[in-house]
């Protein structure tokens, strides 16, 4: 199974059978009337086809369907979905510690295919997962997460085998302190159920979509 990083929370996951998933497609252009963009949104769009597009929450840098080509199936959380041999499910997490008064809910999307359990955390940013959430997550092999104060607790709780930092993640002291940390100069890596490391690996990839200007 291949994992390719486009930009922010947008990844392409390609299964061994050739089914492709794009996660959280971002809005690549500033819209005058739209919500304010963060810095550096003027990136080229994903611009590729996929069978499935997963969207963790409705913020414009995670939910821009027009950045993707073709006729994908959209999964935005809720009831589990079986499609083309892939099982999609979600657990409700929160953008921050303030629940509905903060930046709202994030569907942490789970993808099960090729014997791997993948979890895309979107903009999850709680201090800790509750016991109930933790139980719903179950086992996680591969984790995509943004990087911040909440990340150590998350990794401690979920104990994934592979972690991909994303969403404006920068290499910080904590990331360097991880035993299995590696910064790679590629945008795509491959894993299968057999080649999963025994100890946790943290792989910082290179973003495929570079900014085209301010």
């Amino acid at each position: 199974m291949k994992f390719k990083w486009y930009y922010t929370a947008s990844w392409r996951i390609t299964t061994d059978t050739g089914v492709s998933i794009i996660t959280d497609p971002y809005n690549h252009k500033y819209i005058p009337e739209g919500p304010p963009p963060p810095f550096g949104t003027d990136h080229p769009a994903v611009g590729e086809q996929a069978d499935i597009v997963t969207i963790t929450h409705g913020h414009f840098d995670h939910s821009y369907i027009c950045g993707v080509k073709g006729v994908p199936r959209i999964y935005t959380g809720g009831a589990p979905l079986e499609y083309k041999g892939i099982r999609l499910s979600s657990v409700e997490g929160w953008h921050d510690n303030y629940g509905d008064c903060g930046r709202g809910v994030v569907s942490c999307v789970g993808i099960e295919a090729d014997g791997l359990r993948i979890r895309h955390m979107g903009d999850y940013g709680q201090d800790r997962l509750t016991d109930e959430q933790l139980q719903k997550f179950g086992k996680v092999d591969i984790l995509f997460t943004c990087w911040g104060d909440w990340t150590p607790a998350l990794l401690d709780q979920l104990k994934p085998k592979v972690v991909f930092p994303m969403h404006h993640a920068v290499v910080d002291m904590y990331m360097r302190s991880l035993k299995g940390f590696k910064q790679l100069d590629v945008s795509e890596v491959e894993f299968s159920a057999d080649t999963l490391p025994a100890e946790m690996k943290c792989l910082m990839l290179k973003q495929l979509r570079e900014p085209t200007g301010a």
Binding site: H28, G34, G70, V71, R73
Partner: protein, 267 residues
């Protein structure tokens, strides 16, 4: 008085259309297939009811503006149709026609045109959703769209085509029924947009304009009409004519002239 046809007519072949505001319609076929057009981002100026994960089989996206492509609010893991290649989804053939929207709104680079006009046929009724169209149609485009029974046309201007051009497009496509959309209302406060009344104020007779229920005159009664009328329109194809069979309709709508129906928003 209720439409007698409502009681007599069979429940079959009845197409339901609900209007959520802006360009967003929820279209339900007689066998339960649901299509949602152009879901919007409900923000500071758009006070329309959000879709709240309304389940759908297909969601169509005409352009990359946040008022047309906010698919996150749609539930039920739908297919997203936003291309021009004809594609069959959930048993319905979708055709997209590449058009442009106004220069100021060029926000999407992944589409063949910046705006895609959506054509599909449900229960024998040919529907056409113009999305955020920004110009009059060329003959070629009108030919590609073909025959239209129910046309959903943006009439607010500013970020879509001017209202006079919208009328011209209606003449070009000659639909039986027009559903105006994307206009200024108390729920959608965009500066400079025209209200829906601009679209039909110079018509010789407004008797053919329905606000969920039929009204002879339209004078500052938008609010009360919106509250009376049914938000769910039902249509049926009878002998080549589209008939409004909603419970609220006093009269049948027939195809003698262009008929405009202004549906109540879903609050």
């Amino acid at each position: 008085m209720e439409n007698p046809d409502y009681a007599v007519g069979t429940a079959k072949n009845r197409l339901k259309i609900e209007y959520f505001g802006l360009s967003c319609f929820v279209i339900t076929s007689s066998n339960g297939t649901k299509i949602i057009t152009d879901p919007f981002f409900a923000g500071q100026r758009v006070l329309h009811t959000m879709l709240r994960k309304e389940p759908a089989d297909v969601v169509t996206v005409s352009c990359g503006s946040y008022a047309h492509c906010h698919v996150f609010d749609v539930g039920g893991s739908p297919y997203a149709y936003q291309i021009t290649e004809p594609t069959e989804l959930a048993g319905i053939l979708f055709r997209g026609v590449a058009t442009r929207h106004l220069e100021m709104l060029e926000v999407s680079t992944t589409k063949p045109g910046d705006n895609v006009v959506m054509c599909f046929e449900v229960d024998g009724i040919k529907l056409c959703h113009l999305g955020a169209l920004g110009h009059k149609l060329t003959d070629e485009q009108a030919k590609q769209i073909g025959k239209v029974d129910i046309l959903m046309v943006p009439v607010g201007g500013v970020s879509t085509l001017p209202v006079e051009d919208a009328k011209e497009v209606c003449r070009q496509l000659n639909p039986q029924i027009i559903l105006p959309m994307h206009y200024r209302s108390e729920r959608c406060d965009f500066q400079g947009w025209a209200g829906v009344e601009e679209f039909f104020k110079d018509r010789p007779s407004v008797e053919k304009v329905y606000f969920g229920v039929k009204r002879k005159y339209y004078e500052n009664v938008l609010r009360s009409d919106l509250e009376i009328g049914s938000s769910q329109l039902e249509f049926q194809m009878r002998n080549g004519k589209v008939v409004l069979t909603s419970r609220g309709a006093n009269d049948q709508i027939t195809a003698e002239t262009l008929n405009i129906i202004v549906p109540r928003f879903v609050y």
